[in-house]
């Protein structure tokens, strides 16, 4: 029973830090340089403890708080531990970065910010620990609430307010769905402990309803299409460390919930659940990546890319569900492992990238890609660390992103044996789509990095942008190291994921992988597929060195610096580079139907000709605005009831009386 107690202590430490910050409400220096690093260390400890707990037996605990007769139950098993590792590790890097990030005068006073921030962390940790419906919902909503206040840190800006409102609204709708989900699960027993929910044997209809509610609820949080619209609004609005936490960690709690309910509490279920998840995940992945390639605002771009990655994760889960429903344990484990590894990988590189944007934002005060560029020279630290990030984000070998995509594709590749021919037909298409998504992600990342850091500065002020500070570098480096390490040594990841898959699908890859030592990654046996990141890297490095040697060997001429050639055209300047719009233009053309594009083209007669193109989300105009209009007109209709005329009011009363009297006489 030691781990969970330690974890509770650490979480308590976070809360204590937050409350302590209230006493130094406006002392930015102290809050930032002392409290945040302390929080970071707590996060590290949390990650360590839960990493150890993951390989131990499940532990349970009870809090005194809760409803009468229903104290909050906590449980620490492999699944929770896995996500606690994500939370702890994410918290460490992000808090370290925040220590260097928060400056004076960011709207909310720093002390309050610190409180909200640490409550947010604590709530996320408790969400994955919760072992009964009430505790889960309380922590879940606390998480949403604290993150909402973090997003509104700079509430003087109307756009921020709007974004935060949208975020909380959708989060609340999701929460209501979850409420109903638990209502279905408890099956009139009035006992909300997960143990009881697990024990309930619901019919296919009820369990499908519960699953549906769960998908809506967690989808709203994870940003699954069509509930994704809040994500690209909220992430740019929030301070960068907050965006990092939300995107890298908070979205994962939704994944956790979905896993917990669909695999654990509902015991897998029907095959079409998997198909549903597959479809949703794929839709999100495609839409997210396509949109991220055409964004012109760096944090929006990353936000859409988060939608894409969540989509990939959910796709893996869907596949795992399908396999599980046909009791193909190994394949289910493979798909689920892919999803879980991607959870880790995405947590790492997305935090890295968001924090990087924070550094850029502070250095330049500019978030519009069209005004950035050439920062590699002025801020090399941030640039090179983020370079690692985008390589990881593009899913390129030998980094973290590739491992998960590799596993995912593997699991798609060996699905020919499904007894359901329809799925058999479907699977290759899905695999193709995944490949497409991966390639597009690469496109988006190249655009992101190239436009921000490469080329010539598009604004004069960018030349004297200052590099990331010490704490910020530490935070960035932590995640960069994670991306590299996970990419090179996937076997430990497989072990960690194995603990989860053992619980959820009753099987794992640990043995098969361990059969081939610590470097070779061969989940299905070497003859099927194998990948040795370390050797791979060594090979590339060796070959590259070989190239260098050859060049040195054969090389005769000298080398000098000169102005860029550019086909001999002398008058090139920074404005001639491709802008973000330009870079995304081909995608805009190819995926025209995805977007709601409004274009203004200059005519020869314009005195001041200009070109503007506005790319919007179809869902916003297709679903959300009509719903809003509907509600509004309904409200107007209802308003007629209150027309101020007392006779009419009396008439209501009279008619109701008559109606009820007839009711009882019949």
């Amino acid at each position: 029973m030691i781990h969970i107690d330690w974890i509770l202590v650490l979480v308590g430490g976070w809360l204590a830090l937050g409350i302590g910050a209230l006493f130094t409400l406006h002392n930015t220096g102290f809050v930032a340089r002392r409290l945040f690093p302390a929080g970071a260390l707590i996060g590290l400890a949390l990650a360590a403890v839960s990493l150890d707990a993951a390989f131990d037996t499940p532990e349970v605990a009870q809090l005194v708080i809760g409803l009468p007769g229903l104290p909050m139950h906590l449980r620490l098993d492999g699944l929770s531990a896995f996500f606690l590792v994500v939370i702890g590790a994410g918290a460490f890097g992000t808090s370290m970065f925040s220590a260097g990030y928060f400056r004076t005068g960011e709207g909310t006073p720093p002390g309050l910010m610190c409180l909200e921030y640490h409550v947010f962390l604590a709530a996320m940790a408790m969400v994955v620990l919760a072992d009964d419906g009430y505790a889960f919902m309380v922590m879940w909503e606390t998480m949403a609430l604290s993150s909402f206040f973090l997003v509104t840190a700079n509430h003087r800006v109307p756009a921020v307010r709007h974004a935060a409102y949208l975020y909380l609204l959708i989060a609340h709708i999701g929460a209501i769905a979850l409420l109903l989900c638990f209502g279905v699960l408890q099956a009139n027993t009035g006992d909300y402990t997960f143990a009881n929910l697990r024990a309930q044997q619901l019919g296919p209809v009820w369990s499908s309803i519960a699953f549906g509610f769960a998908v809506v609820g967690f989808g709203a949080k994870a940003g699954l299409v069509p509930l994704h619209v809040w994500l690209p609004e909220a992430h740019p609005a929030a301070p960068s460390p907050v965006s990092a936490l939300m995107s890298a960690v908070m979205l994962k709690t939704a994944i956790y919930g979905l896993l917990r309910i669909s695999f654990d509490l509902l015991h897998g279920g029907l095959w079409w659940w998997g198909a549903v998840l597959l479809a949703l995940g794929l839709a999100s992945a495609l839409l997210g990546v396509v949109f991220s390639t055409v964004q012109t605002e760096m944090k929006r771009l990353l936000a859409y890319s988060s939608i894409e990655n969540i989509g990939l994760i959910v796709t893996g889960m869907g596949l795992a569900l399908i396999f599980r429903s046909y009791t193909m344990t190994t394949l289910a484990a493979l798909a689920l492992t892919a999803a879980l590894v991607h959870v880790l990988a995405h947590a790492c590189f997305k935090s890295l990238l968001f924090l990087g944007t924070g550094a850029v934002l502070h250095a330049t005060g500019e978030r519009n890609l069209g005004k950035l560029g050439g920062l590699m020279r002025s801020m090399p630290w941030a640039a090179w660390l983020m370079f690692v990030g985008i390589l990881g984000g593009s899913g390129l070998p030998p980094l973290a992103g590739f491992i998960s995509e590799w596993l995912l594709l593997q699991s798609f590749l060996f699905t020919t044996a499904l007894p359901n021919s329809f799925l058999n037909m479907l699977i290759p298409l899905v695999a193709a789509a995944i490949a497409l998504v991966a390639a597009l992600a690469c496109f988006a990342m190249v655009k992101f990095f190239g436009v921000i850091f490469l080329g010539q500065p598009r604004e004069e002020k960018l030349r004297k942008a200052h590099d990331a500070t010490g704490f910020e570098r530490l935070g960035l480096a932590w995640f960069a190291a994670g991306v590299v390490a996970m990419g090179l040594f996937p076997v430990p990841l497989i072990d960690l994921a194995d603990r989860v898959t053992q619980i959820l699908v009753g099987g794992g890859l640990a043995q098969t992988v361990h059969a081939n030592g610590w470097f070779l990654l061969a989940p299905m046996g070497v003859e099927r597929a194998s990948y040795i990141p370390a050797l791979f890297l060594a090979g590339v490095a060796a070959a590259t060195l070989l190239g260098l040697l050859i060049a040195r060997r054969l090389y005769r001429g000298t080398s000098r610096r000169a102005p860029a050639w550019a086909c001999g055209y002398a008058g090139t300047n920074a404005r001639m580079q491709d802008t973000a719009e330009g870079f995304g233009q081909p995608i805009r053309q190819i995926f025209e139907p995805f977007f709601r594009t409004t274009r203004h083209l200059p005519t020869p007669f314009d005195t001041r000709p200009y070109y503007r193109v506005l790319v919007e989300d179809r869902f916003w105009h297709g679903i959300y605005l009509p719903v809003a209009r509907l509600v509004d007109s309904a409200a107007r209709l209802v308003g007629r009831l209150q027309q101020g005329r007392i006779s009419i009011y009396l008439l209501y009363s009279f008619v109701t009386l008559m109606f009820l009297l007839m009711l009882v006489r019949l």
Partner: protein
């Protein structure tokens, strides 16, 4: 050793005395303090009474005319508490109103004495064992509040008070007819005389009461007291009265009066359920409840006036409670009682905050209130947290009860839950959008002369928070017993 009835006696007597005294001295400078003092004394007495009940069992007093059982014990304490905090809040508030010239000396006197009498009447209504007296007390409470609503003498307040009087008067009249039928039914079993209206006696023989009469009686009682609960479609007086009366009155109306009316319905439901086997009362309440929730949610959506908005939110929550009690069963009843408590705490806290905000903005129109957080952080946070709590955000108590209500409804009444879900979402969108606009951004508010009394706001919110995370054992015990009492 004093008899257990003594604190009860005090609890009822003190506010009456306060009404008299303040009727004489309420206009003095120290009038508000005097008011608060009497409320404090009442609270002390009520707490004493509560303590007695916690350690003893149900109390019968004055020859069975008054009694305390789990169902009304916590309501008495709650009423006294909110009455006290409201009087604290009204000290600076009313002073400022007086400086603004909206209140004069005589009006202050009227306000204070009526306030005390109103509290007294509600306490009587809660503790009486006689359904007839219950009716009398409810009517009296209406009369006192009518005067309080119209205290500004503005056209709007007059109109509101007039509507309040007429609509509630008619409603209450129907309730009287219901009570009469009840008496008629009891007459046949127990025989005439006062005993035939004592709830304890009726509850003892409820199975033998004539179902046909009880059905009619419950219709009249439901509609009558339902008018005061503010159930759609007989809610129309509520938003006007809340919006045009002084804010302390809006607070006690939402926080207390509606509860007392619902309490009356509950007492009658117990008898009706006992007599009728077909569960008609429950279905009736479910119908009223759902209707109220849905309609109120959509009313919320297009509000301009902040007090009106929160008045509609009260309708919504009363609807939710009615729905819960109609649903019946231990969980739903428990949740309903919990919701009664936390709603009155939260809603009154919100009205306190709103009151100060409107005073600073000099308007109740929400578009003219901006940047509360900037103007006064504590006030801003009070309003924000209060609104989030009332909208069912954990870890506040409202969430706890809504959690229980919705989850239990999900399996008993699957068709109803999507409707409730939709309405809750709409309500959230409406209220939170408005509140956010008022709280955030750059402010346009002036400074006030008197320090706002924010202690009540945070006291209430603190209690709500506590109830969301931890319900004291004796309270939980009461809720359970009361839930069993209501049965259904």
């Amino acid at each position: 050793m004093l008899p257990a009835t003594f604190p009860l006696f005090l609890t009822l007597l003190l506010p009456v005395a306060g009404g008299v005294v303040l009727g004489l001295y309420g206009h003095r400078d120290k009038g508000p303090e005097l008011n608060a003092a009497f409320s404090a004394a009442t609270l002390a007495a009520a707490l004493w009474l509560t303590a007695e009940v916690v350690f003893g069992t149900s109390v019968l007093g004055f020859g069975e005319r008054f009694f305390i059982d789990p169902l009304n014990a916590f309501l008495v304490a709650l009423t006294a508490l909110v009455g006290f905090t409201t009087s604290i809040f009204s000290m600076p508030y009313m002073r400022i109103e007086r400086e603004h010239g909206k209140m004069t000396g005589p009006r202050m006197r009227l306000f204070h004495s009526m306030y005390q009498l109103f509290i007294a009447m509600m306490l009587v209504a809660l503790t009486t064992n006689n359904l007839g007296v219950l009716w009398v007390a409810m009517e009296a409470a209406t009369l006192t509040t009518v005067l309080l609503v119209s205290v500004y003498r503005t056209p709007a307040s007059l109109e509101a008070a007039w509507k309040y009087f007429i609509l509630c008067g008619v409603g209450i009249a129907q309730a009287l007819f219901g009570t009469m039928l009840l008496y008629l039914a009891a007459d046949r079993v127990i025989g005439g005389g006062e005993g035939a209206l004592l709830w304890t006696h009726l509850a003892a023989v409820k199975e033998q009461l004539e179902p046909n009469i009880l059905a009619l009686a419950f219709v009249f009682l439901m509609l009558g007291y339902g008018t005061k609960v503010g159930l759609v479609p007989v809610h129309n007086w509520l938003p006007d009265a809340h919006a045009e009366g002084p804010t302390p009155i809006s607070a006690v109306l939402s926080g207390l009066l509606l509860n007392v009316a619902l309490y009356a319905i509950l007492r009658c439901k117990v008898l009706a359920d006992g007599a009728m086997t077909n569960g008609l009362p429950g279905r009736m309440m479910i119908g009223f409840g759902i209707l109220s929730v849905v309609v109120a949610a959509f009313f919320l959506f297009r509000q301009r006036d902040v007090k009106r908005m929160f008045a509609y939110s009260s309708i919504e929550h009363m609807g939710l409670m009615t729905f819960a009690f109609g649903l019946g069963g231990p969980i739903a009843n428990f949740a309903g009682l919990l919701h009664m408590t936390v709603h009155s705490l939260t809603k009154s806290a919100i009205f306190f905050a709103v009151g100060h905000a409107t005073q600073r903005a000099g308007s109740q129109v929400m578009d003219e209130i901006r940047g509360l957080l900037q103007a006064s952080p504590t006030l801003g946070w009070g309003l924000t947290i209060g609104s989030l709590a009332i909208l069912g955000m954990p870890p506040f108590g409202v969430f706890a009860s809504e959690f229980l209500i919705l989850t239990s409804a999900m399996r008993q009444l699957p068709w109803a839950t999507p409707v409730l879900l939709l309405s809750l979402a709409v309500a959230f969108a409406a209220v939170f959008g408005r509140v956010q606009a008022m709280v955030f951004g750059d402010t346009n508010l002036a400074a006030t002369t008197h320090r706002p009394a924010l202690f009540p706001v945070f006291l209430h919110l603190g209690l709500t928070l506590m109830l969301g995370l931890f319900v004291p054992p004796f309270l939980g015990q009461w809720y359970r017993q009361a839930a069993a009492l209501i049965g259904g």
